[in-house]
Point group: C2
Chain length 396, copies 2
Amino acid sequence: MARTNNPVIRLSNVKLWRGNHMQTTNTDTKLPADKRPKLKRSIIDCDIHQSTGIDILKPYLPRAYQELVKLYGLALPSGMHFNGGLGGRMVDAFPEEGGSAGSDLDLMRKQHLDRYNIEYGILTGEGYAVHTTINYDYAAALCSAINDCTIDHWLSRDSRLRGSVFIPKQEPNLSAKEIDRVGGRSDMVQVIVSNGATLPYGNRYYDPIYAACVRHNLPFTIHVGLEGEGINSPPTGAGYVTHYIETRCARPAVMAAHLASFIFEGVFERFPTLKVVLQESGVLWLAPYLWKLDQEWKGLRVQTPWVRKKPSEYFREHVRVTTQPIEETPSREIFDHLLESIYAKETLMFCSDYPHWDYDSPSQALPKLANELWDNIYYQNAAKLYGLPPRRKEGL
Amino acid sequence: MARTNNPVIRLSNVKLWRGNHMQTTNTDTKLPADKRPKLKRSIIDCDIHQSTGIDILKPYLPRAYQELVKLYGLALPSGMHFNGGLGGRMVDAFPEEGGSAGSDLDLMRKQHLDRYNIEYGILTGEGYAVHTTINYDYAAALCSAINDCTIDHWLSRDSRLRGSVFIPKQEPNLSAKEIDRVGGRSDMVQVIVSNGATLPYGNRYYDPIYAACVRHNLPFTIHVGLEGEGINSPPTGAGYVTHYIETRCARPAVMAAHLASFIFEGVFERFPTLKVVLQESGVLWLAPYLWKLDQEWKGLRVQTPWVRKKPSEYFREHVRVTTQPIEETPSREIFDHLLESIYAKETLMFCSDYPHWDYDSPSQALPKLANELWDNIYYQNAAKLYGLPPRRKEGL
């Protein structure tokens, strides 16, 4: 393939695909993907990026936007940095007959769904750039098109798949309208937005979104990406950064700001059934962060008297976290300590990020875990959150 | 005092002053300050905020700015949030005869320097709002006035004290000029800036500052504060936050962005003798952050080939961290694990933040430590960094 002719990109990609992540597992990360062990029990994967080409998407847009897109392109600011892998994807996830990684359901089944015994896969799409434009109505039209495409081209074709409702979060009332339009479907299991934002998500400006989430019993999922792009705030509290690795390493901090915002703005008091998912922003950093939130709350709670409980209690009750990309620790002991500190038994959910370059294979993502913890992380926590039925066949 | 008539403020403050911080020590945090144990060996405190009133500062400004300040006030944007304590200070650190906390050397000696056997105290001042104005020349004039005041009114009066060079970091060439003006003095031991910034400090825009630091063998110290104020970038990658506790909990993340910037922009390759101090931004969060930096660097180093070593190696060699406010951990075991992960034996330096409301008393700041580790944190690491002479009297 022409795209692998660049030795720098190929080199980087191969190295990563051959197991950069979670070396604490010390298992078969050196094995090629098709030689890796299958899982004995089926699992739920909370983050699979299906790709729906623009040619498929376009007919779902209102005619006026179809014309504008033809004349001017998508007009969605993004792509400020290089990424990893090949365009951010694994080289071997591109279909041989062409198209982007994640665009072919058969290949997705072969490489991921079937191979790793995925009972349910939550689709998280690719349309996050809709969150970077100030053109509210256009963003809303794009989100509707994305959601309709997900339903028609993915959810209807494999009963294992579930969808995420994209919303024009720049305009909370239009967002609520879109949630009401498609959020009542049983195959749409969450509302999803990018981590990049103009205002932290606890700001009451977003309340109509949470009212709609609660109305349809849908978790609100924040997926990393688009930090500092378009209308979003610069990606760090120190301003714009130069390299992709800097913005990537700053993503947990953006998520941290959203989490603090939810807690200290009292969102969980106003919406007591709301659940929030922090996706792809790492895991273990949450331990010292929760310690700090609790510690500072003790001293400053007089300024936010509506925050009635310790921040870590809100976290435990309302927040769920996905695994990929989890931090590698210097020892197993410290890994276990930190998992405990974030209540992983209740809060952590496996995800792979297929087919992105930093994909965590289900058999490699985490070190060996005790039975119950494994089952909670790989199945039960997600099943409970998303209201998914129990396993069809019980293995092990 | 009139200022303690507000029960809300008084309540909050008393609670905190009576030992909110570092309850993992389980020692005498409930004791009033004058009943707390003295330390057997003398120590170095890396963060003491002396206060120099505007009336003392004004005569040090050029005549034109004196006139402007008389007509318009200081014109320094800051103060977007409430703070803790009383105006951010401990109630009992205000001199009885009036003036701000930290403005009276005798009281500082009585409450802190003498009581806690401080061998050297690094003064870190209060002038950080100079970093929030776009008026470069005015910022430069203010910094010169602040530095001259520090020399005349503090360093000349107590041989234990050392000063920090304030610089108009908005304009690196003017900054270098100020470093050259006063940075050669033996009693000026570091260059200091606020954590709040328009661009992360690794950006090559700042290079003239680091050239000057290296010229005078001065560490570059980043002290929390002024995030999101004036010309500085919003305080989080998610935008402006609502409450003080949110911006406070986001400060480590701003510091993290600066740290990544130093490493991935190659500052430590261009200035191999440069040392950087991260001040008042917490400690233990650095452990998972360094794991992440190392992990991502493995996969993405092809994009920043000038970064020759693991990020954690640059950290260990070039970066020092001060203790206050350190995170409280659920167990001593995890505390020790994380200290090890950040190479605390070489990198951690005690500081009190006197007389701010979240002051850590030297006898309370940390749990009991092994002898060598204690001595490194409370003395040797700072003595080495700042080139300070050994203890005058050896105790213990």
